[in-house]
Symmetry: C2
Subunit: 185 residues, 2 copies
């Protein structure tokens, strides 16, 4: 199983790491031994909205080979929805069986056209922005439309990660990972 974590300038680091932690535990805790992942971007190195840098190991290549592609949010999404080069690159995930987003990352999937006719969510401050891309904006923590799952704001990335763990590896795996993360919700 191959997972791609998309990153870009001016992302919210916790959107990325909140879902990265539980999903990568699927491998490190032995539930999905063949899980592999890449940090995917259009540049080698990106900066989050507070100046922290992340390195990508997959730069500018098609996302089509991933089983799961996860997009974080952040202020960078506001300009990227109008960045044809970025959106065309993200559209290479069209055939991936599972796509997910945290926070305003759903605006990026929306700009790809992948939320048309679907229900979705985003950061509460961006509900209006999301409305033009989907059929119904839900105010729920996680909205699962089968092949595309959107999560609400920042910390909902942890909920998304655990939800994906349950979906991919089952409820027992999800519970053990949540316990190891000392997640008390």
């Amino acid at each position: 199983m191959k997972c791609g974590f998309v990153v870009f300038n001016d992302l919210t680091a916790l959107d990325f790491i909140g879902v990265y932690d539980p999903v990568t535990r699927l491998k490190t805790m032995g539930f999905i031994p063949d899980l592999s992942w890449d940090v995917c971007a259009r540049e080698n190195r990106i900066l989050d909205s507070s100046g922290l840098s992340f390195e990508a190991n997959m730069v500018g290549k098609s996302l089509s080979s991933y089983d799961l592609v996860i997009v974080p949010g952040g202020f960078g999404t506001r300009s990227l929805v109008n960045d044809k080069g970025f959106i065309d690159w993200l559209k290479t995930a069209a055939s991936c069986p599972l796509k997910a987003s945290v926070c305003t990352g759903s605006l990026l999937w929306g700009a790809c056209g992948f939320l048309a006719g679907k229900q979705a969510t985003t950061h509460p401050s961006a509900y209006e922005d999301l409305a033009k891309y989907c059929e119904t904006v839900k105010h729920e923590r996680i909205v699962d439309e089968g092949n595309i799952i959107t999560a609400r704001g920042v910390t909902a990335g942890i909920d998304l990660g655990l939800y994906l763990c349950g979906k991919i590896a089952g409820e027992t795996a999800r519970e053990k990972i949540a316990r190891q993360m000392d997640y008390s919700k």
Copy 2:
């Protein structure tokens, strides 16, 4: 106000980013405009326990000038408690008015001797390891001993970050930051 985020090889990325997000929002949301921070390490580049790299911008220098020093946990702590060079470097934070840790980061403060006679917490799997460094191991989410604050496992880093926001900038700031993070606890 100067904050140092300590990083090291084989850390848990979410321990670091869970507290980095709310604390850096003190500046980006305008509550502490003069807040600055460094990512502090003994090497330019470190890898988390799943291979993600972080860059440090403060390498090997004394930590004594920081107002707040925050240490994450992770499997790397298990060998670092016996790494004299690392512990001697961390001890340069002795005079800092506020020190904090997430998860097994408290073992590192313990190895510095800073928890002697105090109450502290850590990841539930490391309670026994912590016991030799402090007076009482508490099973609570956050243990505040005034100049040193320890948080429990992984996701407790978010609780620690919000707790620090309240301590540094007041309850209203803490509430606004929690809302912006869509933190529903």
